[in-house]
C-alpha cells in the first residue's frame, strides 16, 4: 500500500500542497501551544543540585556581629566618594584593599560606541588562597554604580568588608578576586577581556592575575537604606547564554533555605508559583535571552564559560540587612570553594519559571523547532507547487530530455513539467541578504544624536525598498517569469530562515522563537495580483511584524525611546560582542523584505496589468 501513495500524489499534487500547508499550520500551533504548556507541573521540573561537591547551605555562615560595624563604616566611605571621578575612587579602594594585605591591581578602560565614550577604572584585589597554587579563582564583584546607575553603596562596602573577613579563613582552595568595576556594563567586560588577554587597544592589561575563574558572584546592593526584602537573582548572559543551573540553585537554596531570604527571578516580586506567574517569569526570561544584552556585571563573564550571577537586593521594607547578604555571599563562596571541577554537571540550557522550577532544553526546544519547521514546510510547499515553474517550457524540449534519458542532473523536475527559473529568485534573495549588512553597519556606526533621524530614514527606506524592488523586477523581467520568480524567492527566503532559526534555536532558543513568531505572517505573504484587498491585509500584517515594529515593541516594553534601544544595540555590538543585531539585520530583515516584495508585487502587477493567475 505504502508504495502506491507517491504515484497517486504525483497525479494529484494539490493533496500534497494541502498536506504541507496543514502540516505547517499544525507545526506552528503545536509549537505555540507546547510553549504555553511548559509552566504546568507535568512539563516543568523542580530544580535540584547536580554537583554533589557544592553542598549548598551545609556550612554555618558566621559573617555578622562586629563585621557589620565595619560594613557600615565602609558604607560611609563609599558615600563620601559618591560623586568622585573613577580614578579617585579606584585609588581609595586600592588603599583599603592594600591595608587588608591583598594584592591590588587597577585597570583603566575606554570604549567607543554610538558616538559616546565609556571610560572608567576598575580596581581589584587578589586574595591568594593559603596553600593555593594559583590555578583557580573565584570572583566577588561589586560595580561602583549598578546597572541603573545607582551608587552601589552596600555592595561595595560589603565586598570590602568580606575581603578582610575572607582573609582570616584558611580553608580557601581557590584564589578570591574582589573586583570593584567602575560601572555595571563596560567595566566588567574590560576586566574579563583583559584577564584573558583579549582586550582592545584602549584597555589596560591587568598587572595582577590569578588562575582560571570558576565562578562569579556580583553583589548589587544600592542605596543608603540598608534593609531589604528579598534577593533578586539575575542570571542572563550576553547573547542569551546562561550560567550553569547549579550556580543559581546553590544561590536559591542558600538564600531561601539557609538564610530565610525570599528569592525573585526576572523582577517577578510576588511570585505565587501559579501558572500565570510561572509563564510570565519564563516569558520575561525569554525576552532577556532573545535580546542577548547584559543584565548586570555577571553577563560579561558568561561568554568566557565562567558561570556568574548577580545577587541584587530588592525592596526596603524587609528585615534583612548587610549581615544576611554577607552570610549568603559567604555561604555561596564556601560552596564554590568546594567545587572540584568546573561547573558542568547541571544544565546550561534551561528556562526558569520560578526560583525552584525549570524546564530543560529537551522539553522546550521543540516549540522553537516547530516554528522553524513551519517555515521550512511552507518553503517546501512553495517548491513543490507547480506555480514555481515558468509555464513557458516547450513540450518539445521536455520530450527531448526524455529521449536523452532525462537524467542529466539538471533542474528538470523528476516528475516532468516545466523548468524552474532559479536565477532571478536566487539573486533577489542573495541580494537582499547582502543588503542586510547596510542597516547593520549604519546603526553600529552612527552617532547617538543622529540615531533617531537615521532610524526614521531607515524605516522609510525599508518601507519603500520592497516596493521599489518589486517595481524594478516587474519592469525588467518577462511577464511569464514574474510570478514564479516571486514565488521561488519567497521559497528560498523561507527555507533559509527556517534553517537558520532551527540552528539558532539550539544556541539561543528565545531569539529563534521570537523571530519565528514574528515571521509567521511571512508564510501567508503571497503574491496575489488578482486580489488586491488580501494583499493589502498581508501588507499591513507584514508591516506590523517588521523588525522595526519589533524595535518599537521592545522600546515600549522597557519604556525607552527607540534610539535608546539602537544605542544599546550598538554599544552591545562594540563592547559585549552582542550578536542580536546581526541576526536581526542580516537574517530576519532580509526575510521580511523578501516577504514584502512578494506582497508588494501584487499591487505593482495589478497596477501594471501584468497580473497572472496565482
Amino acid at each position: 500500500m505504502a508504495l502506491r501513495v507517491p504515484v497517486n500524489l504525483r497525479k494529484n499534487l494539490s493533496v500534497v500542497l494541502y498536506a504541507f500547508q496543514g502540516l505547517s499550520i499544525l507545526a506552528v500551533i503545536v509549537g505555540l501551544a507546547s510553549l504555553l504548556l511548559l509552566p504546568l507541573d507535568e512539563y516543568s521540573r523542580r530544580t535540584y543540585i547536580s554537583e554533589n561537591a557544592l553542598l549548598p547551605g551545609q556550612v554555618h555562615a558566621y559573617f555578622g556581629g562586629s563585621e557589620q560595624n565595619i560594613v557600615r563604616a565602609f558604607r560611609r566611605e563609599v558615600d563620601l566618594l559618591g560623586n568622585s571621578t573613577s580614578d579617585v575612587v579606584a585609588e581609595r579602594m586600592a588603599e583599603i584593599f592594600r591595608s587588608a594585605g591583598l594584592k591590588v591591581g587597577k585597570q583603566r578602560y575606554s570604549y567607543k560606541a554610538a558616538g559616546g565614550e565609556y571610560t572608567g577604572e576598575n580596581v581589584y584585589a587578589v586574595l591568594h588562597a593559603p596553600r593555593g597554587d594559583a590555578t583557580e579563582a573565584i570572583v566577588l564583584c561589586a560595580p561602583w554604580r549598578n546597572i541603573d546607575h545607582l551608587l552601589n553603596e552596600g555592595g561595595v562596602a560589603l565586598t570590602l568588608a568580606l575581603s578582610r573577613y575572607f582573609k582570616r579563613w584558611s580553608l580557601w582552595s581557590k584564589d578570591i578576586i574582589f573586583l570593584i568595576s567602575s560601572d555595571a556594563r563596560a567595566g566588567p567586560q574590560a576586566w574579563v577581556d583583559a584577564y584573558h588577554d583579549l582586550h582592545g587597544e584602549n584597555i589596560q592589561s591587568l598587572s595582577v592575575k590569578s588562575g582560571a575563574i570558576q565562578g562569579v558572584v556580583v553583589v548589587d546592593y544600592p542605596g543608603a537604606y540598608h534593609r531589604f526584602e528579598s534577593l533578586h537573582i539575575i542570571y542572563d548572559g550576553i547573547n542569551g547564554q546562561l550560567p550553569n543551573l547549579d550556580l543559581i540553585n546553590t544561590a536559591v537554596q542558600i538564600s531561601r533555605d539557609q538564610m530565610g531570604l525570599r528569592t525573585d527571578l526576572q523582577e517577578m516580586w510576588n511570585h505565587d508559583d501559579g501558572y500565570r506567574h510561572r509563564l510570565r517569569t519564563m516569558l520575561r526570561g525569554m525576552v532577556n535571552q532573545a535580546l542577548g544584552h547584559s543584565t548586570g556585571p555577571h553577563s560579561s563573564f558568561i561568554p568566557y564559560h565562567i558561570d556568574a550571577i548577580t545577587l541584587a537586593t530588592h525592596g526596603d521594607g524587609g528585615w534583612h540587612d548587610e549581615g544576611s547578604l554577607g552570610r549568603t555571599v559567604e555561604s555561596v563562596f564556601r560552596s564554590l570553594n568546594n567545587l572540584l571541577e568546573h561547573f558542568h554537571q547541571s544544565f546550561f540550557f534551561y528556562l526558569l519559571m520560578a526560583p525552584k522550577r525549570f524546564v530543560s532544553i529537551g522539553t522546550y526546544l521543540p516549540s522553537a523547532m516547530l516554528l522553524a519547521v513551519g517555515l521550512t514546510l511552507t518553503a517546501i510547499r512553495l517548491w513543490v507547487d507547480p506555480r514555481s515553474r515558468s509555464g513557458e517550457v516547450e513540450k518539445e524540449e521536455k520530450r527531448e530530455k526524455e529521449r536523452e534519458g532525462g537524467n542529466q542532473g539538471e533542474v528538470v523536475a523528476v516528475d516532468g513539467g516545466p523548468k524552474r527559473e532559479l536565477f532571478l529568485p536566487m539573486s533577489i534573495v542573495i541580494g537582499v541578504h547582502f543588503c542586510g549588512v547596510i542597516p547593520f553597519a549604519v546603526f553600529n556606526s552612527v552617532d547617538h544624536k543622529s540615531m533617531s533621524s537615521v532610524f526614521y530614514i531607515s524605516i522609510a527606506t525599508s518601507v519603500i525598498l520592497p516596493t521599489l524592488i518589486s517595481i524594478l523586477i516587474t519592469l525588467t523581467a518577462s511577464p511569464h517569469r514574474l510570478l514564479p520568480a516571486f514565488h521561488l524567492s519567497r521559497c528560498f527566503s523561507l527555507l533559509f530562515l527556517g534553517m537558520f532559526l532551527s540552528t539558532l534555536a539550539t544556541l539561543n532558543f528565545s531569539l529563534s522563537f521570537l523571530i519565528g513568531l514574528f515571521s509567521l505572517p511571512l508564510t501567508f505573504a503571497r503574491t496575489t495580483p488578482k486580489s488586491v484587498p488580501s494583499a493589502l491585509v498581508n501588507s499591513i500584517l507584514l508591516q506590523a511584524t517588521s523588525p522595526f515594529a519589533a524595535l518599537f515593541a521592545v522600546a515600549g516594553y522597557w519604556g525607552l525611546g527607540v534610539e535608546d534601544i539602537l544605542k544599546e544595540a550598538s554599544f552591545g555590538w562594540w563592547v559585549w560582542g552582542m550578536w542580536t543585531p546581526v541576526v536581526v539585520w542580516c537574517v530576519w530583515w532580509p526575510a521580511w523584505v523578501v516577504g514584502r516584495v512578494s506582497v508588494d508585487s501584487s499591487f505593482v502587477m495589478a497596477a501594471m496589468g501584468k497580473g497572472g493567475d496565482l
Binding site: 500500500m1 508504495l3 558566621y62 559573617f63 555578622g64 556581629g65 562586629s66 563585621e67 560595624n69 565595619i70 557600615r72 563604616a73 565602609f74 560611609r76 566611605e77 591595608s99 594585605g101 594584592k103 591568594h128 593559603p130 596553600r131 593555593g132 597554587d133 594559583a134 590555578t135 583557580e136 578582610r164 573577613y165 582570616r168 579563613w169 584558611s170 584573558h196 588577554d197 583579549l198 592575575k209 588562575g211 582560571a212 568566557y304 564559560h305 572540584l340 571541577e341 568546573h342 558542568h344
Partner: protein
C-alpha cells in the same frame, strides 16, 4: 620594649628507660668507632626569618655526609638505607626530589631562600643523573628509580612516564663532583607531576629518612597539620657525591630541606579559635579619627603591631632537645636554631644558660641557639610595636605565567619576566615542559621587550625545542634569553588543544589538566656594572590549569541507545520491505487447514504401510 628570649627547661632526673637508651647509644658509638670506616657527619639547622606581612619563613636543613666507599659497600650508617639501595640499584649518581605546595610570593617576601635551589614547582618534581651505557638503559633505570621512589615516598612518582620526562639541555648542571665517572655516561632526566597533592603521607617517609626520625632535634617541629597549613612549603631531597679537592676522597651527601612560610596571625588565631568568627566588638581596632566613628561604625585600622609568637604557638609543640647525632660537632656547626631579625629591634636579650645565643660576625641581626639533648627548647618572639620591617632581598627576576585566550580549541601562554635591577641585564634559561596534548606553535613563540629599546629586539640567544609525539612524549622548550635592565620580557606562544581519547580522561576531566611550572634558571654570572658574582638561581612559575574539550561522559550511553533504536527501526522496516512480497488479497492462496492435515495424515499412513 622588644626582646627576644629563649625558654628552656631544667635538666630533669633521667628515668631508667632513658639511662638504658643512653647506654645503648654509647655502646653503638663504641662499636662504630671500633670500625675502620669514619662515621657519618650529620648536621641540622633551623633558620627562622620574619617576612613582611606577618609571615615567618622557617627553613629546616638536614645534612649528612658519609664516605662514598662505605655507601658503595652498602654499609649505611646515618644515610637512609632504603634510599641508598634504590640509588645503587638504579645507578643514580645524583638525585633531586622536590615536593611543593602553595606559591612563593616574591612580591611580598623577596627572593626565595637558598636562591631557589631547594624549591620545586607545585606538586612533585624530580631530576636525576643516571649512569648508563645508552639512552635506553638510562630510561629503564629512570623508570625503575621512579617506581621505587614512588613506593618510598607514597607519591605517584610512578606516573612519570615518557610523556612526562624531559632531558633538559641548558637548565640543569650536576651539582656533585665526578672525578672518576665518565660524564658522557651520565644521563640527566627530569620529570614533574604538577597535580600531585603533597600531604602528610609524603612527610612521614621524609622524616623517616632522618637519623632522629622526627623524635628529637628540630624535626620534632614538623607536624603535618602545621606544615601543610603553611602558605608555602617545599620539601626537598638532594643526594650527590662531593669530593674534596685536597684529599681526593669522596663523600656522599644527602641534604633534606623543608622551607615553610607560616602566616603568623592565622596560626595564632587557629590556636585560640579554630573558626575565625567575627571578633567581639571590643576587640576591634577602629580608627577613631573618622568623623562617623561610634559604636556602630568601625573603620578598621591597619595592623600596627607584630603579634608575639613562640615556636610552640606556631608549631604546636616545642623542640624536644637536640638530635644526639647532631650535637657533638665542632662549635661553629652546632648552631641549631637561628633567627634573623633586624638588629636594632633586639635591644635586650634575656636568655637562660642552656641556650645562650651565639652571634655570627658580620651578621649582627642573626641570633643562633644550640640545642642540648633531652632539653626542650622554645623560642619566643615578643610583640613588636611599631612592627619590624623585615629584610627583604630583592629577587633577581620576577616571573609570572598565565593562559591567554579562551575556548576549547586554541589558547596561548604568556610569561612575563621582569628584571628589577636598574643597571644590569640578566641571562636566564627558560624551560617549559608541556604535556603532549598541548601543542605549541613554535612560529608564534615571540619575545617582546618593554619598554622598547633600540637594538634589544632579539633577546633570545638560543632555543632548544623538542616537539611532542602524541602519547609518547611531551614538548620540551628551552630558551636562553637576556632580560635587559629594568625592563620586562614578555614571552608568548599559541598552542592547540588536542582531543583525547575517551579513556584518556581522568575521573575529574572537567577540572582541567595541570601544566607543570616553567623553570627559570639563572646561570652563575658576573654583573656587568660591579663585577659581583650572581649565584646560580632558579625560579618556578605557578602551574597552570588547562581545560581541554571534554565530552559529556554520559553521551556514549545515549549514543548507543539511539543508534541501536535507529538500527532496529531502519533494519526492521527495510528488511521487512525487501523480504515481504506484496500481493492482492484475492491472489492469496487460501490456506486449507483440513486438507493439509489430511495430507500429513496420508503421508504418515503411507510411511507406515511402507
Amino acid at each position: 620594649m622588644t626582646l627576644l628570649f629563649a625558654r628552656s627547661h631544667q635538666w630533669l632526673t633521667p628515668s631508667p628507660l632513658e639511662i638504658l637508651s643512653r647506654l645503648l647509644g654509647f655502646f653503638l658509638v663504641f662499636t662504630l668507632s671500633g670500625n675502620t670506616v669514619v662515621a657519618d657527619t650529620y648536621k641540622e639547622k633551623l633558620d627562622l626569618q620574619p617576612l613582611s606581612g606577618q609571615f615567618l619563613l622557617a627553613s629546616f636543613n638536614f645534612q649528612n655526609h658519609g664516605p662514598i666507599e662505605a655507601f658503595n659497600k652498602q654499609m649505611f650508617q646515618l644515610f637512609p638505607r632504603s634510599l641508598g639501595q634504590i640509588l645503587q640499584y638504579t645507578h643514580t649518581r645524583e638525585l633531586h626530589l622536590r615536593f611543593a605546595l602553595g606559591r612563593w610570593d616574591s612580591e611580598l617576601w623577596g627572593a626565595q631562600p637558598g636562591d631557589g635551589q631547594n624549591a620545586g614547582g607545585t606538586g612533585v618534581e624530580t631530576w636525576a643523573w643516571v649512569e648508563a651505557d645508552n639512552d635506553v638503559e638510562a630510561e629503564a633505570r629512570w623508570t625503575s628509580l621512579n617506581n621505587a621512589l614512588s613506593g618510598l615516598f607514597c607519591a605517584s612518582l610512578n606516573f612519570i612516564d615518557s610523556t612526562r620526562t624531559i632531558r633538559p639541555v641548558m637548565s640543569f648542571n650536576p651539582t656533585g663532583d665526578y672525578p672518576t665517572t665518565n660524564t658522557s655516561r651520565l644521563f640527566l632526566l627530569h620529570g614533574s607531576l604538577p597535580k600531585e597533592p603533597v600531604c602528610t603521607e609524603n612527610l612521614t617517609p621524609f622524616l623517616k629518612l632522618l637519623p632522629c626520625k622526627g623524635k628529637s632535634g628540630i624535626s620534632t617541629l614538623l607536624d603535618g597539620h602545621k606544615l601543610f597549613d603553611a602558605s608555602f612549603q617545599s620539601m626537598s631531597i638532594d643526594v650527590r657525591p662531593i669530593c674534596s679537592p685536597h684529599t681526593g676522597t669522596c663523600d656522599i651527601e644527602i641534604q633534606q630541606t623543608i622551607d615553610m612560610v607560616l602566616d603568623i596571625s592565622r596560626s595564632l588565631q587557629r590556636k585560640d579559635s579554630p573558626v575565625p568568627r567575627p571578633r567581639d566588638q571590643h576587640e576591634l581596632i577602629c580608627d577613631t579619627s573618622k568623623p562617623y566613628a561610634s559604636n556602630e561604625y568601625c573603620y578598621p585600622m591597619d595592623n600596627s603591631i607584630d603579634l608575639p609568637w613562640s615556636l610552640s604557638d606556631l608549631f604546636g609543640r616545642t623542640i624536644s632537645g637536640g638530635c644526639p647525632f647532631a650535637i657533638n660537632l665542632p662549635a661553629e656547626e652546632t648552631q641549631h636554631v637561628c633567627i634573623r631579625a633586624p638588629e636594632n629591634k633586639l635591644t635586650t636579650m634575656e636568655t637562660l644558660e642552656l641556650a645562650a645565643p651565639t652571634l655570627t660576625e658580620g651578621q649582627p641581626d642573626l641570633k643562633c641557639y644550640m640545642l642540648r639533648e633531652n632539653v626542650p627548647f622554645d623560642l619566643s618572639f615578643p610583640k613588636q610595636q611599631p612592627p619590624i620591617s623585615p629584610l627583604r632581598q630583592e629577587p633577581l627576576l620576577y616571573a609570572e605565567r598565565s593562559f591567554t585566550g579562551h575556548g576549547q580549541e586554541h589558547g596561548g601562554v604568556k610569561t612575563v619576566l621582569r628584571n628589577p635591577n636598574p643597571n644590569d641585564p640578566i641571562e636566564v634559561v627558560y624551560l617549559e615542559s608541556l604535556p603532549w596534548f598541548m601543542k605549541p606553535y613554535l612560529h608564534t613563540f615571540k619575545a617582546q621587550v618593554l619598554p622598547v629599546l633600540a637594538g634589544e629586539e632579539d633577546v633570545i640567544s638560543e632555543l632548544y625545542y623538542r616537539p611532542a609525539l602524541d602519547r609518547k612524549r611531551g614538548t620540551q622548550l628551552e630558551a636562553k634569553l637576556i632580560v635587559p635592565p629594568n625592563s620586562v620580557v614578555i614571552l608568548t606562544y599559541d598552542f592547540e588543544k588536542a582531543v583525547l581519547r575517551y579513556t584518556e580522561y581522568p575521573p575529574d576531566a572537567n577540572r582541567g589538566f595541570d601544566v607543570a611550572s616553567a623553570i627559570i634558571t639563572i646561570p652563575p654570572q658576573r654583573r656587568r656594572s660591579d663585577g659581583k658574582k650572581v649565584p646560580a638561581t632558579s625560579i618556578r612559575t605557578t602551574s597552570l590549569l588547562l581545560s581541554l574539550p571534554t565530552p559529556d561522559f554520559s553521551m556514549p550511553y545515549n549514543v548507543i541507545i539511539f543508534t541501536s533504536t535507529i538500527m532496529a527501526l531502519a533494519f526492521g522496516s527495510i528488511f521487512n520491505l525487501l523480504v515481504r512480497r506484496f500481493v492482492a488479497v484475492d491472489e492469496v492462496q487460501r490456506v486449507d487447514l483440513k486438507g493439509k492435515i489430511r495430507g500429513l495424515l496420508g503421508k504418515l499412513k503411507k510411511g507406515k504401510t511402507e
